[in-house]
């Protein structure tokens, strides 16, 4: 009994460095966030914030740009997640006989995942450039016309394509692993029962892959929702703030406008919503796991 207690306190000691580190580098900032969000604060009065109530939150709430950025993030996250997972699923299943025999093919498909999204964004500045870029060049050569890819009408869709092309490999990889993990006995047994290829896919294989598909959609939505790097280097937030994600909105409020109170209040809102959603999802996941066992 005594030994056991000694062990539990030693375990506590082992976890302590991580906990302290998080308290300093996340706990303290979270408190600063909370205090500043209800204060009148500028770069001159950083150390003596005056508590003023909820005026910062009101400023964010009444800011059209905040809602525009929220709408952008939601749409961007949802559309890219759907596109990436649909493409990734089709490719994973269709290409799996090839990749099974030659695993280096997967390495080629995974290559975009290794490159910094910021660099990929910069690369597209070259790819889409009206004089130096190959895409406009070939469009002119073959069709006699080109598109202003980062102009007001197409910037959003250009960004969707950029994000989708870089992260489809992630979904592809996940789905390929899940597809390979389906026990061959199940597939063979249903083939013996005379199941057609499409039926097999629809009634056996896809349902078995459903948990992975949900997880992939979720991860890709989250990463699309909080997007910063590639959008920031490609369009900034333009044209006219139309491509500002919430991350870019907060960044610009702080660094470009010096509106500390607004930036911090928006951070607190995002913080509360993110953790509420994430813990909600954890709760649902653990409930369902409990129901299964």
């Amino acid at each position: 009994m005594n030994a056991q207690r000694a062990h539990s306190s030693e375990f506590r000691l082992l976890a302590m460095p991580l906990v302290l580190f998080l308290l300093v580098f996340l706990g303290f900032p979270a408190i600063v966030n909370l205090i500043y969000s209800v204060s009148d604060v500028s770069f001159e009065t950083l150390r003596q914030p005056k508590i003023t109530g909820l005026s910062n939150f009101a400023a964010v709430w009444n800011d059209r740009a905040f809602w525009q950025a929220s709408w952008f993030s939601l749409r961007f996250g949802a559309l890219t997640a759907l596109l990436e997972c649909a493409l990734g699923l089709i490719l994973a299943i269709f290409l799996s006989p090839l990749i099974e025999r030659r695993s280096w093919l997967m390495a080629i498909l995974m290559l975009p995942l290794m490159v910094a999204p910021a660099l990929v964004g910069l690369m597209y500045r070259l790819v889409l450039h009206e004089f130096a870029g190959p895409v406009p060049y070939y469009l002119w050569a073959w069709f006699g016309t080109s598109v202003s890819f980062l102009g007001p009408t197409s910037a959003f869709w250009t960004l969707i394509v950029v994000e989708t092309l870089q992260w489809t490999p992630f979904a592809l990889l996940l789905f390929y692993m899940a597809y390979r993990a389906i026990p061959t006995e199940i597939v063979e047994a249903s083939a013996m029962d005379g199941a057609r290829r499409w039926h097999l896919l629809w009634y056996i294989e896809l349902p078995l892959m459903a948990p992975t598909i949900v997880v992939a959609l979720l991860i890709r939505f989250i990463d699309g929702f909080r997007v910063f790097d590639n959008v920031y280097v490609l369009t900034g937030s333009g044209p006219g703030g139309s491509t500002a994600s919430l991350s870019i909105y907060i960044y610009e409020a702080f660094f470009k406008q010096g509106a500390i109170g607004k930036a911090v209040a928006a951070s607190v809102i995002l913080f509360a919503v993110s953790f509420a959603v994430l813990y909600g999802l954890n709760f649902i996941a653990s409930r369902r796991k409990g129901a299964l066992t």
Binding site: A15, Q166, S267, F275
Partner: protein, 273 residues
């Protein structure tokens, strides 16, 4: 027949997904003169001039510094994450400590938009004189790396048989001794995987590099964007391409060599996360 179709689909997918990388690679070998006449996907007269220009140090641009900064901050961010995560992972897996609090919190951290901590961290770093230092950026990158490192290590330790600990406990070893002498050596593959993964993530990070550094500690992802604003006469696309190739090369090489470990841990982090 269907196999030929599979190869075709593979070729199109690989080409489309790697397109920006291909274009950048091709452009980096074009001379300034060729660039103005030939934006296509081939090179008439390959040259290394752009790479020579990239490695030319000037008052404004210093690629050696950016690369050195990236290596240093990635090193700090990766090792610190593993050093913090390993004992905690042991306590979680064996002591069942914080399984319902600490672990889910850190796993959720992977999904939170990190910008929400960025502004107070910026102020805190100003007070602590950590702005524009490699140490400061490295510390933050370790937070970015923590969730995946912890998940990988907790899973690895949970997969170990409990008898391993029991035997050492019988011999009168303390938990810390067991962690260092028994668990850590057996978990070496998982530790290596989290180090590789962390290094790639840290090298490719952009947001905190942009906010927390200005000149002395600028990492390559941010430094590369400086080349796009270089010199009055618009972007020099050849030089800019060469910078991007250099900046992307380390994680890409690491990824190509270790893609098996990486694909494994990516799915682990995804499924358990």
């Amino acid at each position: 027949m269907i196999n030929a179709l599979r190869w075709l689909v593979f070729a199109i997918a690989a080409f489309a997904m790697n397109f920006p990388i291909l274009v950048t690679l091709v452009t980096s070998f074009k001379s300034t003169r060729e660039l103005s006449t030939n934006p296509g996907l081939w090179v008439q007269a390959p040259t290394l001039d752009n790479y020579l220009a990239v490695f030319q140090v000037s008052d404004r641009l210093n690629i050696f510094l950016y690369l050195f900064n990236s290596i240093t901050v990635a090193f700090i961010g990766t090792t610190l994450a593993v050093v913090l995560a390993l004992p905690a992972a042991y306590a979680i897996a064996r002591g069942r400590l914080g399984e319902r609090t600490l672990l889910p919190f850190i796993v959720n951290l992977r999904a939170v938009p990190l910008i929400i901590f960025a502004i107070p961290l910026y102020m805190m770093f100003q007070w602590l004189a950590l702005l524009d230092t490699r140490l400061g950026l490295g510390l933050i990158l370790s937070i970015v790396n923590l969730p995946l490192a912890l998940v990988i290590l907790v899973n690895a330790i949970r997969d170990l048989p409990g008898e391993l600990d029991e035997a050492a406990l019988m011999d009168g070893a303390s938990r810390t001794q067991i962690l260092l002498r028994v668990i850590a050596p057996v978990c070496r593959p998982a530790i290596v995987t989290s180090l590789i993964f962390g290094f790639i993530t840290a090298w490719n990070e952009f947001l905190f590099g942009l906010m927390l550094t200005t000149s002395k500690a600028v990492p390559i992802t941010v430094g590369a964007s400086f080349f796009f604003a270089a010199s009055g006469g618009g972007v020099q696309w050849g030089v800019a391409s060469a910078v991007m190739v250099v900046g992307a090369l380390p994680p890409v090489l690491l990824g190509l060599i270790m893609y098996r470990q990486i694909s494994g841990s990516m799915t682990a982090g995804a499924v358990k996360g």
